[in-house]
Subunit: 505 residues, 2 copies
């Protein structure tokens, strides 16, 4: 199979770069075999499409090797696409936006570099998965809990940098990382914040630096490759209570959102509640999808001493009590009762990773199933959450897709997460789903909503909606991109930011 | 008096720019009179020095006027220096790093644009002072509390963008702003995060955006002028308890720090505790400085229902009880008891601004007093806080200056705030103080510590210490500066970042 040469490069460029990669990293760390690369395609695009296929893959094992890879890419003008684990399949998995990019696979950089028990943080390399971090924390005594997303196989660094969410007090992962080491597009090495001084004391504890803060530039970004990241954790509490509230209908949903917001703002509920519709469990404990259900399942957690949890729960009950028909409950666990939680909801709010969400019973087309997540960000107000739910549901109905999903709450914002399932071997269905998604992006944009991340197919579409000031944000992103990456070798097109040489895509 | 022409500009450039400012803003909004400009000098530098004097001042009243000012500055190559209120005197007040800059005084842009009661945020212009925000919130019913710094006269925007601190749950102000409108160095207008879409819903509630986050670039920054900012607030709690702990000696200080850290990490104490030494109050309530005191005064607060505060305080007492000789106390207030708090410690943790810290009884040289704050950032570990305290105190002793100060705690970091007082009409003394400061910066840098902000005189000195990766952070700051501000018209030299044309200062 001939190599897929990236737009803007020649076959000779690519061959020369690959030879140089082999020279630096060795044979086994450079993959060019077409069959071996199949595993690193966009898993949820139409199976026969090669639109997001890479030309090769390199697997550095150290920061120095990442620097060498970036220097070679510049020398030969060959673009890279980095992934940490590449497991977020709805957002393209490991696949590049631009066909023919060389993948930089960071799975082999998988060391937990530091666990600071007293200050409750860890420092990790990008290949560290949630499973790995959890295990390392358990091995260190279990005194610290991570916030985790629904699936444990992903990268802590990848998820956090992509604004991924979890459900514990640090569930806004991108806001609770602190201190990065970054390989810049010219191959040089940066340490952010207080890490900018040799022998820095406060690198992973103080979120600012001296002068403009640049950490944000490396989130959802094509401006650097993060090789080391500080991640804040919570100390194991004496007790943990998994709580739930169940209501039916939109009016009650609005009330639940408003009560949970007040509990979050008052710092009674300190984690990120999730409210779902359409994901049910039968009497035997088997999960199934029911897009027609009108039941809203809310879940949230309390942490602290047994006394405090009781006090918190009295407030919770008092505020939820006035909602018509609300069922409220909780289940208590000791903080050190590692085996206690028996289901995903209970585990994910306690930092214990699992893979339940890939349960085959939830995949309508078996292993061929793809799903496309559409997740605009709204405000955490009952009436607005309901408005956005109705809007998105109507768009799904218009497109003929069943609608299931959830609402992940923060004290002020609400992420409206919805999913469409389809058969990735069915070209017509797959294309219809992606076209409907683009239309949904445009329609919610008319109402002032933007998805918090998106698939490869729609990065340009979402970026196009950000029109304020004649697309001022795009011009700023591009100006910085051109200044730092004049040859455009890092992740061209990521989040709709294209380098100068590839801007007329 | 002839105008002070800024380095890199000509007198003709400056005259032409001033004429254009008058054309856009009108006569009364452009100040060139030398006497009128005296008020906007660095108040704590040697009185006779003109090193940080401006050439003129413009006073825009709208974002459009700020844009016009920036465009004129570009057209004529005349550098600007922006201040919101310019009240942080220890950091130069309103004065520019580069002599002869035109001051952009934003005090007239002083509207509270929005108060969102349900979502607990406000949107303010840069001229809004803490007093103004507090008043506006009171007028709106008092249901929301701001986090405030020690002096109420400063700008909310200015303090927050400069990484200023307060003492309430949102006391890390820079981490609790959300959504900016920014005039870029080319005069164009940017809205950050979700504000990048017209009619944005989630601008001031969701802290990230689509693609790389750029908000950090506008903190301690010369990359833009922020004309509008979202600021997160806390809902008024049912009750508030002002708490304190008093110990003597370093060993006990270390224990207090460790206990307070555990209480913060466990989210019992949710504000930012402050521990001071050398600031005393006599029996009649008069404050005085006592640099020889070995007593550490810790203060912190609890918020919630009366029940919850009692439960929290039981944990607080249990953990502080084992510290030898510790005196512990608290005073309770109803959340809506606006007149309750009778002293600064109680008010500042409840969001009520005052001016107590400018009490003339604390100024050893009367109105001629200057003070220089030196505030390196460390980790919130008892033993390291003591180490840093001892190091800084030894540097003060070496320089022959009395040492007073405080430690502002966050769950993981500790800001070591110290102050030197001197007579700004005494040239020798003033110069000695600044020279000692520079030496302190270099000495703590050898131990891995960096001040979180600094005076005009030492911006280059601090930036010089950030040496990791052959000064990688400086090169990144400069690359972005040159890309966004090729003519170097915005705040040249701020935090040691100089534009290309003025880099060989």
């Amino acid at each position: 199979m001939s190599r897929r040469v990236p737009l803007g490069s020649t076959a000779a460029d690519l061959d020369a770069a690959i030879a140089a990669f082999v020279g630096e990293l060795g044979d086994v760390a450079v993959v060019t075999d077409g069959d071996a690369l199949l595993e690193f395609r966009d898993p949820y695009t139409y199976r026969e499409s090669d639109e997001f296929d890479a030309s090769a893959m390199v697997m550095p094992t150290s920061t120095e090797q990442v620097q060498a890879v970036v220097r070679i890419a510049n020398e030969h003008g060959v673009p890279l696409w980095t992934f940490s684990q590449g497991r977020n399949n709805t957002y393209g998995g490991p696949a590049p936006r631009l066909r023919g990019c060389v993948l930089v696979n960071l799975r082999a950089m998988n060391r937990v570099l530091e666990i600071e028990q007293e200050l409750a943080y860890a420092v990790v390399e990008p290949g560290v998965r949630w499973f790995d971090l959890f295990d390392a924390l358990q091995d260190a005594g279990g005194g610290l809990w991570p916030s985790i997303p629904d699936l444990g196989w992903g990268s802590v660094v990848g998820n956090s940098l992509e604004y991924g969410i979890g459900y514990m007090p640090h569930g806004d992962h991108a806001s609770h990382v602190c201190g990065m080491e970054v390989v810049l597009p010219d191959g040089s090495l940066l340490r952010t914040g207080m890490g900018a001084i040799s022998g820095a004391k406060a690198w992973h504890v103080y979120p600012h630096g001296f002068g403009p803060s640049v950490e944000g530039l490396f989130k959802q970004s094509s401006l650097g490759i993060v090789t080391r990241l500080g991640v804040w954790l919570m100390p194991r509490p004496e007790c943990y209570a998994s709580c739930w509230v169940r209501v039916s209908g939109y009016e009650q949903l609005a009330e639940v959102v408003d009560v949970l917001r007040s509990l979050m703002l008052d710092r009674i509920v300190e984690n990120h509640p999730m409210i779902t519709r359409g994901l049910e469990v039968d009497a035997d404990g088997n999960p199934y999808l029911d897009p027609m259900s009108e039941t809203w399942h809310g879940r949230f957690a309390l942490y602290g001493s047994a006394d405090l949890i009781d006090a918190y729960h009295r407030v919770v009950e008092a505020r939820l009590a006035h909602i018509d028909g609300a069922e409220v409950g909780r289940r208590n666990f000791d903080g050190d009762d590692g085996d206690g939680p028996s289901n995903h909801d209970e585990r994910v709010q306690r930092g214990i990773p699992d893979m339940d969400f890939l349960d085959e019973r939830l995949l309508p087309y078996g292993p061929r199933t793809g799903h496309l997540d559409f997740s605009p960000v709204g405000r955490c107000l009952g009436r607005e959450v309901v408005e956005l739910q109705k809007l998105v549901r109507s768009l799904y109905e218009k497109a003929g897709h069943p609608h299931v999903g959830g609402i992940c709450l923060a004290p002020r914002s609400a992420l409206c997460i919805t999913t469409t399932f389809y058969d990735t071997t069915n070209q017509a269905q797959t294309e219809r789903v992606y076209a409907a998604y683009s239309e949904m992006v445009r329609e919610v944009a008319r109402h002032g909503y933007v998805p918090y991340r998106t698939n490869l197919q729609n990065m340009d579409v979402v970026a196009d909606q950000l029109d304020f000031g004649d697309h001022a944000l795009r011009r700023l992103h591009e100006a910085i991109k051109d200044a730092l990456d004049p040859k455009g070798v890092m992740a061209p097109g990521k989040q709709g930011v294209w380098p100068a040489g590839r801007r007329d895509r």
